[in-house]
């Protein structure tokens, strides 16, 4: 295989595996509506998880506002399509750009806070979004919400919507995998590890972080767009703040530093959630899984797999001399 293709395959392993997985799933469950429905909501979760993996996994900024950004995107497309009959493909721009702008501004305003304060600030932002949607009068439909959001003409049935949703996820995975292997991506990894070090590399940390935050919020808005046109109905609690926390959990469980981690975490938690009998037991499940993963694999499941692979690879190599006590 030519080197270019080898490199491409190495960079896009996650996307390739995902394409394979979606193909197999589609072959098995193409005729089972409940399975397709589950798959579509999983794809929405996966997009939200990817938005967390970008800003938290790469730049180390914990955002607990992703469901809020998704709600902004969902309401933007819902209002534009129901009130002004704008086609969903046009309102898609608003659904991405409006949350992106809000995310950029939010990051510029609260970006200098410490990690924990920043996370709390984003959580508060998510709550504010919910309140604004609830109190938005006729524009947002208040407590009742908005109904009659048109479906997508090019994805009329469940199967088509399932393929569309996962197609979007795969494109996003490809773009993210591209980004993190460039200088720009390495810059974000440096910011995530040590902002002072990033300054010494010549990186404008607040501005770079705000731009990535904007992208992450825009990605959440895209998830909201997919959600709105699938459900055709929106209420202030459709995308609640608790969802923001759930997707952060998915990313941490899967491995926040890896793009594949967002996908693995999403699929695992959705599967476990479906295996649980009642909704009340979900909190128990999330808590238990999180504690288990943080103890057994602090870098998530994908991190654990990578660690295992590196260890096996290194065992095949000559031993590196250990630094002496003096050197340490």
């Amino acid at each position: 295989m030519p080197e270019v293709l080898q490199r491409l395959a190495a960079r896009q392993t996650t996307a390739l595996l995902l394409i394979l997985g979606v193909a197999v799933y589609t072959v098995f469950f193409a005729a089972v509506p409940a399975r397709l429905d589950l798959s579509i909501s999983t794809a929405v979760y996966a997009l939200l998880a990817l938005s967390v993996a970008l800003i938290y996994g790469q730049a180390g900024v914990l955002s607990v506002a992703q469901a809020g950004f998704a709600a902004v995107g969902a309401y933007a497309t819902a209002i534009l399509t129901t009130r002004w009959d704008i086609p969903p493909l046009i309102s898609l721009f608003a659904a991405i750009l409006l949350p992106a702008l809000l995310g950029f501004l939010l990051s510029r305003v609260v970006g200098s806070l410490s990690h924990l304060s920043l996370a709390v600030a984003t959580l508060v932002f998510g709550e504010i979004v919910t309140i604004v949607l609830r109190e938005g009068g006729t524009l947002t439909g208040g407590y009742v919400g908005l109904s009659g959001i048109p479906g997508l003409a090019f994805a009329p049935d469940l199967l088509a919507y399932h393929l569309l949703a996962w197609g979007v996820v795969i494109v996003v995975v490809i773009l993210c995998s591209n980004l993190i292997t460039t200088t720009r991506g390495r810059a974000y990894q440096t910011i995530g590890h040590d902002p002072l070090r990033a300054e010494a590399d010549g990186i404008n940390v607040p501005k770079s972080t705000a731009l990535l935050f904007g992208c992450s919020a825009g990605l959440a808005g895209l998830a909201g767009w997919l959600y709105a046109h699938y459900m055709t109905f929106l209420a202030p609690e459709s995308l609640p703040a608790s969802l923001s926390i759930t997707v952060v959990l998915m990313v941490v469980v899967g491995g926040r530093r890896h793009i594949a981690g967002a996908i693995v975490g999403t699929i695992l938690l959705v599967a476990l959630q479906n295996a649980m009998p009642t909704e009340e037991s979900q909190g128990l499940l999330y808590g238990a899984v999180l504690v288990l993963v943080l103890i057994a694999a602090p870098d998530g499941l994908v991190g654990l797999v990578n660690w295992w692979r590196d260890r096996r690879r290194r065992a095949a190599r000559p031993i590196i001399p250990e630094p002496t006590a003096q050197e340490v």
Binding site: N178, T183, E199, A200, D201, P323, V328
Partner: protein, 272 residues
């Protein structure tokens, strides 16, 4: 020429630097030494922009850069290292060096995510650039080793190489020899000399008196936030005031000197 003129700064009313000036020419190695609390680190941070002085200016070739942010000074040609190496222990040497190429090769998020031709070209530049750095600093064999698994001497070399990625005109090293073994110090000294020969101005802020005297073209000695002596290494080493403040050898100030030495000894990383 990198100049800092008449730098003064105080923290909470306590003066850290009072009217200190220092110049660094391309191809020159200047050592900055002084006991703990003499203002070495503060001066270093003023030059790199991490601290803004109350008064005084910092300039490159006559161009005032006093208001430039730290990241802007990197692109203006001032590279720096940290006293405690800051690195991601899981990243390998190749990746650590690649990070240094940010100012020249970072493309927009969109261009990078779409891998547009500009981003692909930039990545190829990073690859050749890292290859050259690895060779220049004899790190090729360690290219795929995680930085966290390397001995401290090699980590310092990686840090210096990372700062050199932007081809700065001036390189500021914050206590590069701290914690290194004798052999590692020699290796680092060799690299520093080679950098100066390549027409780079090197500023050494160091605890290690012998290393600074051996390497520097000129030495600035700070004490209590002021410039005590400035001159050639031989003269500085022989200066009675330096010996008094730094080594505590002056009989008249035996008590003060002893205290200085005590402070000094407590802080000497070589004895850790």
């Amino acid at each position: 020429m990198l100049t800092a003129e008449d730098i003064s700064i105080s923290f909470g009313g306590v003066p850290a630097l009072q009217g200190v000036s220092v110049t660094l020419e391309r191809g020159q190695i200047r050592g900055v030494i002084g006991p703990n609390g003499s203002g070495k680190s503060t001066l270093f941070n003023c030059l790199t922009g991490f601290i803004r002085p109350d008064t005084g200016t910092v300039a490159i070739d006559g161009r005032d850069i006093s208001t430039a942010a730290p990241h802007e000074r990197i692109t203006l040609g001032i590279g720096r290292t940290f006293q405690t190496p800051r690195f991601d222990p899981k990243a390998d040497v190749w990746q650590a060096l690649a990070c240094g190429f940010y100012p020249a090769t970072a493309r927009s998020i969109t261009a990078s995510a779409l891998r547009l031709p500009s981003a692909r070209r930039a990545e190829r530049r990073v690859e050749t650039g890292v290859g050259e750095l690895l060779e220049r600093f004899n790190l090729t064999a360690q290219a795929d080793q995680p930085v966290g698994e390397l001995p401290l001497g090699t980590v310092r070399l990686v840090e210096v190489a990372r700062a050199m990625a932007t081809s700065p005109g001036f390189l500021l090293l914050d206590e590069p020899a701290a914690g290194l073994t004798e052999d590692e110090q020699q290796l680092l000294a060799g690299q520093i000399t080679a950098l100066a020969q390549a027409d780079i101005g090197v500023l050494l802020v160091e605890h290690n008196f012998d290393l600074v005297v051996g390497l520097s073209d000129e030495i600035t000695v700070l004490a209590n936030g002021t410039c005590l002596v400035e001159g050639l290494p031989g003269d500085v080493a022989a200066d009675s005031r330096v010996r008094s403040v730094y080594l505590g050898l002056d009989a008249e100030e035996a008590v003060d000197g002893e205290r200085e030495r005590q402070v000094w000894a407590d802080d000497d990383p070589a004895r850790d």
